[in-house]
C-alpha cells in the first residue's frame, strides 16, 4: 500500500500516519520526492486494508498494491479448479459444462421433452428456473418447490446434473435437496447473506456476474462463498449494463481470459441473457468457446411463443443442435472437447 500525501502535508501529519501504521504491526518507508511525499507500507496489507487511512489529515490518496481477494487468486492456487457437478460431469481444466434448458420450468412434459432434445445434442447440464427473479411483481414468479421436483425427476431420468436459481437464504436448503448446482443470479451477486448461506452448502455454486460488477467485484463475491468453506465455485459472464440498448446487456467476453489470468475458478458464458436476441446467440456461443470459456449456458425452448418467461431469447432445439455441432468443431481445434451428440446431427 502506498500513501500519497498532499503537497501541504506537515511533519506532524506524517508522524501521525507512521505511528498508526506501526501500531498495526507494519513497517513504513517514507520517501520524500520533489512533488509529493509517499509512505510505503511494508508487511501484511490486509491488516491495514480496513483502516480508514484516506480520512487521515494530510493524505491525498491511498493506493493498494495487492489484490483484495485471496482464496480465489492464482497466487493461492496456480492450477485451474475442476468442479465435480455429479453424474460424472466436471467443469474446468479442459472439461466443458454445456448448460441448456428452458428459462422457467413449466411442466414435467415440457421439461422432459426439452431435456431429451438438448441431451441428444450433447448438453451435459440441465437448467430450469423454479424461483424466478422478475422485474415486475405482476410477472410469472415460477413454480417453486413443485418445479424443483420436476427438475430432479427429469435430471435423474436423463442422467444429467441440474442447475437452478436460488434467490433467498431461506430457499438454499430446499433447492439443495432437489438440484445439483445452485445458481446465484446477477441481481443477487452482492446479496452477501445469500453468498454466506451457499458458502456453507456442499453443492457447487454458479455465480453470475452482476450488471454493474467489475471483475474484482465478482471475485470478491466468489471470495465470500470460498471463505464460507465451499470450494466449488463457477463464475458466469452474462453481460453487463451499457449505454447501447440494441442488445439486452453487453457481453464482456474479454472477462474470460481476464479472470483466468488472476483466478483459478472455471468461467462459463451465458450468451442468452447477455444478448437477449436469439439471432446473436450462435456467434456469441462460438466466440465464448474461442475465448477460452469452460462452458456455455443457452436457453432452449421448444415453443418460445408459449414460454412463461424470456421466450423471445430462447433457441429452438434444432437451432441448439446446430450451434453445439459448430462449437464441438471449434473446441476440437482448440484442444478441448464437447460431449458427442447422442444421435448424428
Amino acid at each position: 500500500m502506498i500513501i500519497v500525501l498532499k503537497p501541504s502535508a506537515t511533519e506532524e501529519q506524517i508522524d501521525h500516519i507512521v505511528e498508526k501504521v506501526t501500531d498495526l504491526g507494519l513497517r513504513t518507508d517514507v520517501s520524500k520526492g520533489s512533488a509529493r511525499t509517499l509512505i510505503g507500507v511494508i508487511g501484511d496489507e490486509d491488516k491495514i486494508r480496513s483502516a480508514p487511512l484516506q480520512a487521515f489529515p494530510g493524505v491525498e490518496k491511498v493506493m493498494p498494491i495487492l489484490k483484495p481477494y485471496k482464496l480465489a487468486s492464482r497466487e493461492m492456487q496456480e492450477e485451474p479448479s475442476v468442479v465435480d457437478l455429479g453424474h460424472g460431469v466436471k467443469v474446468g481444466g479442459g472439461n466443458l459444462m454445456m448448460i441448456a434448458g428452458p428459462c422457467a420450468i413449466e411442466s414435467e412434459e415440457r421439461l422432459r421433452s426439452i431435456g431429451e432434445s438438448v441431451k441428444a445434442s450433447g448438453a451435459n447440464v440441465l437448467r430450469g428456473g423454479a424461483y424466478k427473479p422478475r422485474t415486475s411483481p405482476y410477472s410469472y414468479q415460477g413454480m417453486g418447490e413443485e418445479g424443483l421436483k420436476i427438475l430432479q425427476s427429469v435430471g435423474n431420468d436423463l442422467g444429467m446434473p441440474t442447475i437452478t436459481e436460488v434467490m433467498d437464504p431461506r430457499q438454499v436448503h430446499v433447492v439443495a435437496e432437489y438440484a445439483d448446482v445452485l445458481q446465484i443470479g446477477a441481481r443477487n451477486m452482492q446479496n452477501f447473506n445469500l453468498l454466506k448461506e451457499v458458502g456453507e452448502s456442499k453443492h457447487p455454486v454458479l455465480l453470475k456476474r452482476g450488471m454493474s460488477a467489475t471483475v474484482k467485484d465478482l471475485l470478491m463475491s466468489a471470495e465470500y462463498v470460498l471463505a464460507g468453506g465451499n470450494k466449488d465455485v463457477i463464475l458466469c459472464e452474462r453481460g453487463v449494463c451499457s449505454f447501447d440498448k440494441s442488445t439486452r446487456n453487453m457481453l464482456d467476453l474479454a472477462m474470460v481470459p481476464n479472470v483466468k489470468e488472476t483466478c483459478h475458478l472455471p468461467v462459463v458464458v451465458d450468451p442468452s441473457h447477455a444478448t437477449g436476441r436469439p439471432e446473436l446467440i450462435p456467434s456469441m456461443s462460438l466466440a465464448s468457446v474461442a475465448a477460452g470459456a469452460d462452458g456455455v449456458h443457452i436457453e432452449v425452448h421448444d415453443c418460445p411463443e408459449e414460454a412463461m418467461s424470456d421466450g423471445p431469447q430462447a433457441l429452438l432445439p434444432e437451432q441448439y443442435a446446430e450451434v453445439m455441432e459448430q462449437m464441438r468443431k471449434l473446441a476440437e481445434v482448440l484442444g478441448r472437447s464437447i460431449p458427442e451428440p447422442l444421435v448424428a446431427v
Copy 2:
C-alpha cells in the same frame, strides 16, 4: 402496445398474431404502411405484457406504450405521498427528511454523541448501520442486534425516528422491532424476496437505487413493496455506476425531477455514498435541495479516522452544521423548510 412486423411478414403470420391477441381479450388495429405493417393492441396492456409476442414469427419488435408500474405512478395518485416516520417527522409534500449519523453503529457513546450533534444542527432522522453489506468477507460486518438496541435507545432519548439497513428477509422482523424506517440498500434493490418481505411490514421503507438501475427499474422495485400492501415507500438516489472513477459513483440528480414527473413517492438524495468524497458533499447537498429532493442523507462521524466503515466519506459534526445552515437558507428561498438548529450555529 404496438407490434411492428418484419417487411417479410406473411398474411398467415399476421392472422396468427391477431388471433393470439384476441384470445387474450384485447382488440387489434392492423395498419399496413408503406414500409411496415403495424398491429396496435387496444385494451388492457397488462393482459399481454407477459406474453412473449417478440417470439412470434414475423415480429420485428414490440413497443409498449404504457408504463409497467401502476401503484407508484402519478396516474394512480396525483398528489405527492407524505410518509409518517414517527416522532412527529414526515417526509414528502414539502416536508424534508434530513438523515444523519455514522455509517456503522460502533458503540452507544459514539452514536449518542454524534446523534446529539446532528440533532443540534437540525437533523430529524438518525441513521446507523447494524448489518453492513461489505464487498469483502474480511471487512467489518456490523454489530447486529446489539447495534439495533443502541440505535433504538439513542433514537428514543433524542426523540428522533431511526433508520437502518435490512439485508435479509430473515432480518426484517428483528430490525422492525427496534428501528422506525427500514432501509433497502442499493445492492438489494432487486432482491425481490426482501422487497416482498418489507412489503408486508408496517414500517416505512427507504429504497435505494441500484448501481445499474434505471429510473424505471427503481419504480418497479418500489411497485413490489407497494403491491405487498406497504404504501410508505421513500426512494433514494445514491449514485450509479459510470466510466469515471474520480467519484465513487455518479450522482444522477436529474433523477429527482424525473421521478417526480411520473411518481408520487418522496425522493431523498444521499451525496455521501454517491461521491465518496467529503469535499464534494456540501455542494451536492445544496444541489439536492435545489433539485427538489424531499430530503438529504449525510454520513457524519466525529472521528473519521477511527470509523469502522466508510470513515473517509463522513463529514465532521461541525461541517454538517455548516451545510445544514446553507441548505436551510436555500430551502427557505424555495418555499420549503428544514428544521431549525437547536442552538444557533
Copy 3:
C-alpha cells in the same frame, strides 16, 4: 510514479528498469516488500510518462502519482481564472455566465426576438448555432457564415457577447471573425487538431465535456488549448453517456466541485443538452447554481415546434424568465449574482 513488479521479477529485470529510469535523468527508490518489490521514481515525472514502462519485463503495473495536466491545475494557479467575454461580461471568480438562445440560428428576425427576450430576463451571453453537428447526414446542417453574420449583428445590437460552435479547424478563422466565444462541442472534445487551432486563437473557448470523457480527459483537452497559448478556457458539463435512457444524457453535477478542487478554470453547466427534456431543465438549472457552477447554458426558442434543431428541449422565453428569477434568488443566498432582468418579471 511507482513501478510495481511481479512476484516473479528477477534482479536482472530490476536493474534493467533502474538503468532505464536513471538514463532519463531521474532517481529511483527500490523497496522490497513482503509480497512485491516497488520502484519509486523520484524527479520530474513528465520525463518518464511517455516511456512504455508497462512493457518492461517484470513489471506488473505502473501507478502515476501526479496529475498529467499542469497549466489547468490548481497547483499551477491557485486563484480561480476570470475570463473576459467582451461587452463587459466576465465569467469565473463569482461572475456568472448566463448563456441563452436557440439551438440553431434560423433567421435574423427570430434570433433578434429570442435575444431580446432572454436579455430582458438577464441572460448575458447570446448563443446560436451556425454549423450544426448532426448525427444524421440528412438532418439540417446550419446556415453557416450567413448565420454567423446574423449572430454578430444581433449580439452587437443587444450589447451581448455571442457564442457559437466551431466544428472544423478550417472554420476557426471565420467563426472568430464574427463571434466572441468559440464553442467546442462534446463530439469534438478530443478532436486534437481543432483544439490546437483554437489554442492559437485570441478568443475565449468554451469546451464541452465529451459523452464518455472522464474529468481527467476533459482537463487534458483543456490542457491542449492552454498549451497552445490561449488562457481563456471555460469548461462545460452537458451530460455523459449512461445506461438509463430516460434522459438524453446523465448530468454529472458533482463534476462541478470535483473540477474546481483540482482546476482553476470556470465551469458552466448545460442542462438543456444533458436532460433533453424541458420539464427537467428548471430544477437542474437551480441545482447547477447551488452546486457552484459559474454559469448556466439554456436553449430558448419562441416556437419550439418550428425549430430546425432540438426544438423539443428548448424552453419558451417566459419559462426562461421564470427560471432566471429563481436562479437569481438562489445565487443571492449563496453570495453570487445573476444580472437583474431589464423589466420586472
Copy 4:
C-alpha cells in the same frame, strides 16, 4: 412513426398534429385506445424525422419505426459488401483483412522489419500511425508526412496495402496520396466534417466505433461517408467505455453479428485497443474470428519497451505468428480463410 399522446391531449391538439403531418405530405391513422390516443404516420418517415413533433402540445412521446440509416442497411443491399483494398487484397464476403503493424511509424528500418515479420505470418494489410491522436499535448504526436512516405515505401516493397489514421479534414489529401486505406479513429467517429471529406475520397475508409457510440450511431456515421459517394466503408469495433477499468475498454463482440443483421458493410475487430493488455489479445482475436468478424487488427512491435506509443499493448512478432496460426485453424473450421504464412511456423 407512432405519436403517443398524453392522456390529457385535447381534440384541438390532435387536429393540430394531424394537420402538420398532412402538410408534410403524409397520411395519419388516429387510434383512440382505452388509455392513450395514438397517431400512426403513414408514408415516407424521413420527411417527418426532423420535424420536432415531440415539441407539439399534447404529445407524450414519438416512437420511430424505421431505421434512420439507409445506404448502410441490408434493406438497401442484401449482399455483404466486398471492399477492394489494393494489391489484390479484399475484405468482406468471406475475405479476411488481417491488419498488423506498429502503433506509430518510428523509422523506416523498424517498420520494414515489423512489416516483413507480420507478412511472413500471413498479415495482408500493414498499419502504422503518422498522425497520432494523443490524450496529452505533451505526448509524441507522430512523424507526419515523413512517416507516410515510409509507410508507402514499405507497403510497396512488401506488396501490402497500407492503412493509417487521418485526424483532420486538411490531412485527407496528403494521407490519400501515400496510403491505401484511410482510418477514422474512435475519437473522430462523429467529426462530421472529416466524415464528409473522406466521403469524397476514392480510398476505402476504416471507421472505428467511438467510445460511447451505439451501433446505431456508428451506422449513422458510416452513412455520412456513404452519402458522400464513397461506398468502400469498413467498420471496426475497438471497445467502448465501461465501468470496469481492468481492461482499457470493453470489447463489444456481439456488435459483430448485431451489425451484420442490419448492415452490409464488413466489420473488423481491434482487440489491441479494446483490451490494452497483450495477454488478453490472443483469446480475443480467436473470439473475433469465431464471432464472424471480417478481419482482425493487431498492433505488433519488435521491441515494445522502445515504442513511441502504446508499446505495452503490442504483441511481439513471434506472438503474432502464433495467434495467426490459431486463427487460421479456426477460420478453416468455419469455412473462411486467412492467408497462409510465407514460412511454416
